[in-house]
Symmetry: C2
Subunit: 349 residues, 2 copies
């Protein structure tokens, strides 16, 4: 593998990958509600019910990760033995969806946590591992499940508690991505840059308005990405956040406007795309580690493959709360991890 | 920075770092019980009480991470602006000790989860980031706190529940490590290899005997490290697990004996070293993300600096359970992440 030195410049928050990393294949699997939404036809698999044949919501979420990895390997025609690392994470305490979902693959596991930004984090570190020459092929997988997330963060579903309009709906789904140093016979897209997020805390405490809590982090990551790469918003066909939803989208556009950056023409949010909020009563939009992952696999990469978009900035967003921190009156800090994804050029080696 | 290509060989679980990564500085901070143990004199800071001036156990744990990072930066004479990434993790749900402890540093954060093996995981990925040319300096920090861990995983402290002799005592402490591509005026040691762990699940379900649950993972990582590097146990001055304790140590030696590997002469366990189990009533030994981290910083690196040990295999061990998985009757899978740490040679550039 030829390898140019990767660029790390002091004072910058981004890395330019001199050796691009190919997203060789990917897979998405979702639950029933996502299977009734606007992206339904694009997902690889839609569950018949949200238990996925398991005995608990947590096991169901584990099976989503297991199946997403299986599908991605299968589509790529690769065996698990060819994968050097799995970078994985989820929203549950101690990341049990990943641990129990991935054990049977017997692949070295790098557990990651960035709340709903974890898809961006796993792609970032997976790309570094490949570009740095530490791995030929890696898998990146994240998941979320509406019912396990409600239990983990909010109220038992049986309570039937009311949700404010600023609340988001956790996506039931998992997306898996196979990253490689060479693109093989074909690849879906390539990763050319990374902007790793900092924790941003504006002091908001409303866990039912996570869009607003995460918007400052999305703003910071997008702003630094543009600055570090010397780009303007229109250098991207889309700037895609993970799960800000409608409330967070307003906050993000306002915050960037204060910095004289206008991304209104480019901005898209996976949480807004994945549901028909009015028809499906999902309020501000979708959220969860699975939201950006399945939207990337099913929708964004498809647009890139079709040549509709040449270069996008993918910025999954996470709210770094737990029920303990919330109950103790803490704020809800946010983080957002940016990944530059580009189309593969004609005849590119 | 000159850079040889890093070695990643198919079928192997280990990476040899052709560009070694220096542990430029480190720091350890512990609670009162650790400050009464056999390693007391070696820690950089011992808290006067285990609240560390905070209002909750979780905030206390966050302050441990904050202080450990501050001390490590201070000892190295470096500013936070010089650090490209913090690799961090802890045991609490959604890693809140890290999120709330590290926010004020405004350094791009890579959140990691490997239960009590997280120190090994952060050192592994931090070393990859530096060796791959993605960063000049990174920080790796992990923590645990006896009281926040009991609340997270077991019973409220006020219950005064009895502990079986196989139970371990979660260390209150945090260790931070500053990794760099160049060793500056001096460095404590260097990282030359990584063996990333797989999830190992022998079906054990006893969360009060985590040593036994984690021993298969430690066995697998140590076995593969020896195989991949073509080494025998005596090629290491010490093979150091994180927190197997006395019960897990027996299991580990037995499991390796079954594979015709005898590490009885080299094995050491941070959980056994950190307390005087009889005097301090800690039963099987210490545990937690902080256990291996503070022992590495205070004790292991000191022995390496003094030339007593030339090369050690450091293998923090983690039990991948949550209270939810435990209550749902799941097993307790283990994972162990190995890092080869060597003394810096005379006159090494």
């Amino acid at each position: 593998m030829s390898q140019e030195k990767n660029v790390c410049s002091m004072g910058k928050q981004s890395i330019e990958l001199k050796t691009p990393v190919y997203i060789r294949e990917s897979a998405s699997i979702v639950g029933t509600k996502e299977g009734q939404g606007p992206l339904a036809e694009l997902f690889d698999m839609i569950g018949e019910d949200d238990m996925f044949g398991c005995d608990s919501w947590e096991e169901a979420e584990s099976s989503l990760q297991k199946d997403a990895v299986f599908l991605a390997l299968n589509k790529a025609g690769m065996k698990k033995e060819e994968i050097r690392y799995i970078f994985a994470g989820d929203l549950l305490g101690q990341s049990i969806a990943s641990s129990f979902g991935l054990a049977s693959y017997e692949i070295p596991l790098i557990g990651m946590y960035g709340a709903c930004s974890t898809c961006g984090l796993t792609l970032s570190m997976g790309a570094m591992a490949v570009s740095g020459g530490f791995a030929e092929h890696v898998l990146c997988v994240t998941s979320s499940h509406f019912a396990s997330a409600e239990k983990e963060f909010r109220f038992p579903l049986g309570y039937g508690n009311q949700r404010p309009l600023s609340a988001s709906w956790t996506v039931t789904g998992s997306g898996a991505f196979l990253l490689s140093g060479d693109k093989g016979t074909k690849a879906r897209a390539k990763i050319t840059g990374i902007t790793t997020g900092k924790i941003m805390d504006y002091g908001l405490k409303d866990s039912q308005n996570m869009g607003a809590c995460m918007a400052p982090a999305a703003c910071d990551t997008i702003y630094n990405n543009l600055k570090d790469f010397g780009r303007k918003p229109s250098d991207y066909d889309k700037i895609i956040t993970g799960d800000l939803g409608t409330v967070g989208q307003h906050a993000l556009l306002d915050l960037l406007n204060e910095k004289d950056v206008d991304i209104a023409g480019q901005h898209m949010d996976c949480g807004i795309e994945i549901y028909d909020a009015k028809e499906q009563d999902t309020h501000a939009g979708g959220s969860g580690c699975g939201c950006s992952a399945v939207t990337l696999s099913a929708y964004i990469l498809k647009k890139i493959e079709e040549g509709v978009w040449k270069r996008v900035l993918f910025v999954p967003t996470g709210a770094l709360l737990s029920k303990t921190s919330f109950n103790e009156g803490q704020t809800v800090p946010g983080i957002a991890h940016g990944v530059v994804i580009e189309a593969i050029g004609e005849g590119e080696a």
